[in-house]
Amino acid sequence: MPMEKSLKRPALLAGVLIALIALPAVADATGYAALTSLATRVLIYGIAAASLNFVLGYGGMVSFGHAAFFGIGGYVVGILYQHYSLGEPLFGFIPGTNQLLITIPVALVISGLMAALIGALSLRTGGVQFIMITLAFAQMLFFLFVSLKTYGGDDGLIIRRANELPGLNMRDKQTVYYVCLTVTVAFFFVLWRIVNSRFGNVIVGLRQSEKRMAAIGLPAYRYKLMAFVISGMGCGLAGALMANFLRYASPDMIHWTKSGELMVMVILGGVGTLFGPLLGAAVFIVLESILASWTENWQLGLGLILLFVVLYTQGGVQGLGTRLFGRRA
């Protein structure tokens, strides 16, 4: 059984990766060019959902404010672009930029710092209070950006051109897709290492019993905070990619409904699994597109499906697949 598992899983992953690499070509050939854009969104939301899942599923910290970091990532790209295009430095001394190799690291750092700040305060509580405090911080940021008229306020910030990457034409949707795919693969590789590391071990331990972890001598707070920061950075990365893909950053990225959507993706895909959230993001976005083409009230259909998943699958789409095909994915 372990032998079988150890062979099956890399084979499955390789198959999915090949399919993802071939996707734009297939989409063009079959005349569904929109599929590439759809897949790009799935990858980006997959990164965000998997980041949330790191604290929620692995660490047992139910954050309802992760859209904050998603939005910060987006606004980093947007604000740097605005200062670049206007030619006036931020705070008078930080020059703007349109280089992806600069904006992404900056987005990671800023979202990480914000996660450290929000986490440091929120993690002093637990349970329902933690949910409410993370939600409150995200809504504070939401209203901050709504009122920031310099950066578009309510209307958001239009980024006329996606960030540049040396040697690549980022105006091409397929190129953007491949950039996102590369980042996604790298992200999941890093996440996989972290989840199975000593650090991941104590985080999963803390979810199971904080009391037990304290009794073996673990100072929980600093580990939870670090997990929260890593998770926030992942969401910031996704936000930066999303701003490049949509060429737009808006307060909607931070709204609590976005936090909810990320959570729905995690639950749909499978809480506490590595690739479940990516799968959940795919299901969510495909359902959103299909249902929205039928009816304006597509959330109703999605809600019913979510209800089914929660009540009957025991572990999301991934758990369902495992039981249907007898595969430990």
């Binding site: 290492r193 199975n196 590391s197 000593r198 037990r212 073996i216």
Partner: protein, 251 residues
């Protein structure tokens, strides 16, 4: 000789209730000191305060002569304090081996290591296996904790506590819920450990207490009413009334 544990004047109040009432308690090196008392006497509360899970209102605690009164739980554990839980408290989704290995991992230092696969670290597994074998759980290493019997969970509690390499072990009713044979095994195991680690043993099973303890303290309504050797406690009239079956309350 400096006692391993030295508690002076410990007081814990919950509102109007005095859960710990000026308790003085010492555990000498190599000693098994049993703490007995009727239900609700405040035994588990006392252990929680010693571990730092609850903060006492008054009093001082010293471990090997070093004050630990204000230290957080994690620091106390790293200094050599460990406990087992009356109601078993383990990591249910992990295997038996994982439960012990994570205790070894935490003892080895900080866990801010993000890259290597923890389950491929042989020395962690080896070390954990040693503690499992000693606890008689060697052949259950790969089992999920959720699938263990109650007795096995109690054994695992002990193995995890020992994996932190304690100087003083606080045992909160290690025999509770065990059958006669399992109790006998547990007694044998604890007896075998007395050369390595001092123990504060909270227990209702009088057979176990009399078989193991060097000294016994009797806790009633948060107050220690007597401390002495097994024979002294057995013959103490006050204790007999309060606890050993001549009062209303049975253990």
């Amino acid at each position: 000789m400096t006692p391993v544990l030295n508690v002076q004047g410990m007081v814990k109040r919950f509102g109007g209730l005095l859960a710990t009432d000026h308790v003085d308690l010492t555990v000498k090196p190599g000693e098994i000191h049993a703490l007995i008392g009727p239900n609700g006497a405040g035994k588990t509360t006392l252990i929680s305060q010693l571990m730092g899970e609850l903060r006492q209102n008054e009093g001082t605690i010293e471990l090997d002569g070093v004050p630990i009164t204000t230290l957080p739980t994690a620091r106390r554990v790293s200094m050599g304090l460990a406990r087992t839980f009356q109601i078993t408290c383990l990591l249910p989704d992990y295997t038996v081996l994982d439960n012990v290995a994570i205790a070894v991992q935490v003892r080895q230092g900080h866990s801010f290591r993000f890259w290597g696969n923890v389950r491929h670290e042989h020395q962690l597994g080896e070390s954990a296996r040693g503690f499992l074998d000693a606890a008689g759980l060697g052949d259950r290493a790969g089992e999920l904790v959720a699938n263990l019997s109650h007795g096995e969970q109690k054994q695992l509690e002990l193995a995890v506590a020992l994996a932190t390499k304690p100087r003083l072990l606080l045992l909160d009713e290690p025999m509770a819920g065990l059958g006669h044979v399992e109790s006998q095994q547990m007694i044998e195991m604890l007896r075998g450990l007395r050369s390595q680690v001092s123990m504060l043993l909270v227990e209702h099973d009088m057979e176990a207490v009399f078989a193991l303890a060097d000294r016994i303290s009797v806790l009633v309504y948060g107050r220690i009413i007597a401390t002495g050797t097994v024979d002294e406690i057995r013959d103490n009239p006050e204790v007999r009334t309060a606890y050993l079956g001549e009062g209303d309350e049975l253990c």
